[in-house]
């Protein structure tokens, strides 16, 4: 009964869209004024971003400063490519040396719309790379390949994806051997309140091949919950607010195009973010949060961070 009602509603919607257009006034004359903008088949998005984090209760780490930029090119709604570069510097307490890291990522995706699915299927692969001046080489020379398949229904009320990431770290100069990390990341998401809210749950199942380099962990499991609420933007009112929480534990995680290549176990975290429209195609996203870490041997600490991103679209 519910299913046939959904079909009727779907048909009515399609009929309504068409009926809105049935009355066609064919006024085929040229008239001056009011030229409409050309529509490009390409949508280009650039996002410069900055991250600052300070560590509280850590024995060695003091702060982290990072900056990067990403470029995304989407062709109609069929396929897209993304390229990103970033650099970061980790400062230590009572030490002049710093850990300098550069990162790069390349991503490709294809969107499919088979009729039997009533939604969009996306196939995506990310290739990530991180290099730094870690003298042990244990967090250096990181290569990641991460394929993902995802589905979003046409109603934008249901989303599911399954991601896999395989990370290869540099061989240890301290005699601790090699390391590869396998990560499974299933995600489920729901839209409700007529598109006013989005709730997403993601699980991280991470298996380092070498527990010696992973604080004796051969498997870590974590879950992440994110809730996004959308507003009518008005003055200082943001167009969206996002609250996130991470629970469980994870090490050497790959999250989107970010590689968490430090050797500490992340034991949870919270975040709060908001986005404002700057102009029609420009948005400012600001996020603040706290992550908790286990450095081993009972030493735990937290990292408070602030993240800024300016999103521009053409």
């Amino acid at each position: 009964m519910g299913q046939s009602r959904m079909k009727i509603l779907g048909r009515s919607t399609r009929l309504m869209v068409a009926l809105l257009s049935v009355i066609s006034f064919q006024l085929a004359y040229a008239e001056e004024g009011g030229d409409l903008p050309e529509i490009s088949a390409w949508k280009i998005t650039t996002s410069p971003q900055v991250l600052y984090s300070s560590f509280s209760g850590a024995t060695t780490r003091e702060s982290l400063l990072g900056a990067g930029v990403s470029l995304d090119a989407q062709h109609l709604e069929r396929w897209g490519l993304s390229l990103g570069v970033a650099g970061s510097q980790l400062s230590y307490k009572a030490a002049s040396n710093k850990l300098n890291q550069t990162e790069g990522n390349l991503s490709g995706r294809v969107h499919l719309t088979p009729d039997f699915l009533s939604g969009q299927l996306t196939l995506r692969t990310d290739i990530l790379r991180a290099d730094n001046n870690d003298s042990t080489n244990e967090t250096n020379n990181v290569n990641v390949i991460a394929p993902q398949i995802s589905y979003l229904n046409y109603g934008n009320t249901f989303y599911v994806d399954l991601g896999y990431a395989r990370s290869r770290y540099g061989d240890s100069n301290a005699g601790n051997g090699s390391l590869t990390v396998a990560q499974w990341t299933p995600t489920i998401g729901f839209g409700f309140n007529e598109g006013g809210d989005w709730l997403q749950l993601r699980a991280y199942n991470i298996s380092p091949s070498n527990p010696v380099r992973a604080q004796s962990q051969s498997r870590t499991n974590a879950g992440e919950l994110k809730w996004t609420h959308y507003f009518y933007a008005d003055g200082l009112t943001p167009e969206q607010v996002q609250v996130g929480a991470l629970f469980g534990k994870r090490i050497y995680a790959v999250e989107g195009t970010n590689i968490y290549n430090l050797t500490d176990i992340q034991q949870g975290g919270t975040s709060l973010g908001a986005q404002w429209p700057i102009a029609q195609d420009s948005h400012l996203f600001i996020q603040a949060g706290q992550n908790r870490y286990d450095a081993g041997a009972g030493a735990s600490y937290s990292g408070n961070y602030a993240y800024f991103s300016l999103i521009n679209q053409w």
Partner: protein, 207 residues
């Protein structure tokens, strides 16, 4: 000397005429069946009747247009696109086929692609109402509020009695936080459709 007409030839002519009448009746029956099934909401059966038309007449442009529409109504968007594409191959100047393509594209949320199609029609028919309306649907879906507001303003000048265009203008103003402008547009909607639910709701929330 009189020549006598062959009765076989005459019989063949009669048979040919009769078969063409029967064939025409058969094809006409398929069209009637298609419209009748559509009226009852049986889009699959309506499309199946057009399949028979196309079997007899594979280059029937109108049949492809009709089946494209019926496939769209069944959410068979890829089939609909194929039918509209075939109609365009048979008649590249068909604005109906170009506009037809926008429907399954919007159904698949391929907004930019649908907008490109609508713009093709607008390029040759500057103020085609259907094309502009579908373009506004795409602008709304892509949240291009400034563009939608400009577009709706231009279109409302050409179609001053149209409430739908004013609704899009009001939405664009509302999403940009321009409450006074949104209220003004929704008030104009109510002049044309006094019981418009969306307009009444917005004005009640923003007295």
């Amino acid at each position: 000397m009189k020549t006598r007409k062959s009765p076989i030839k005459l019989f063949a002519l009669i048979a040919l005429f009769a078969s063409s009448v029967v064939s025409a009746q058969g094809v006409n029956k398929n069209w009637q069946e298609s419209y009748a099934q559509e009226a009852s909401g049986n889009y699959a059966k309506a499309a199946a009747a057009i399949d028979l038309v196309l079997q007899a007449s594979p280059s029937n442009e109108f049949a492809y247009l009709r089946r494209g529409w019926l496939n769209y109504m069944q959410a068979r968007y890829n089939d609909a696109l194929r039918d509209y594409d075939q109609a365009l191959r048979l008649n590249p100047k068909s604005q109906e086929a170009q506009l037809g393509r926008t429907l399954p594209l919007m159904g698949q949320q391929r907004w930019r692609e649908a907008a490109v199609e609508a713009n093709k029609v607008i390029a040759s028919s500057r103020w085609d109402y259907t094309a502009h309306l579908r373009l506004m649907v795409c602008e709304e879906a892509e949240k291009k509020w400034e563009e939608l507001a400009r577009h709706a303003t231009e279109l409302s000048v050409r179609y001053p009695s149209d409430a739908t265009v004013l609704v899009y203008l009001a939405r664009a103003e509302a999403w940009q936080g321009r409450i006074d402008q949104a209220k003004e547009a929704y008030a104009k909607v109510l002049e044309r459709m006094p019981s418009h639910i969306e307009a009444l709701a917005y004005l009640n929330r923003n007295p």
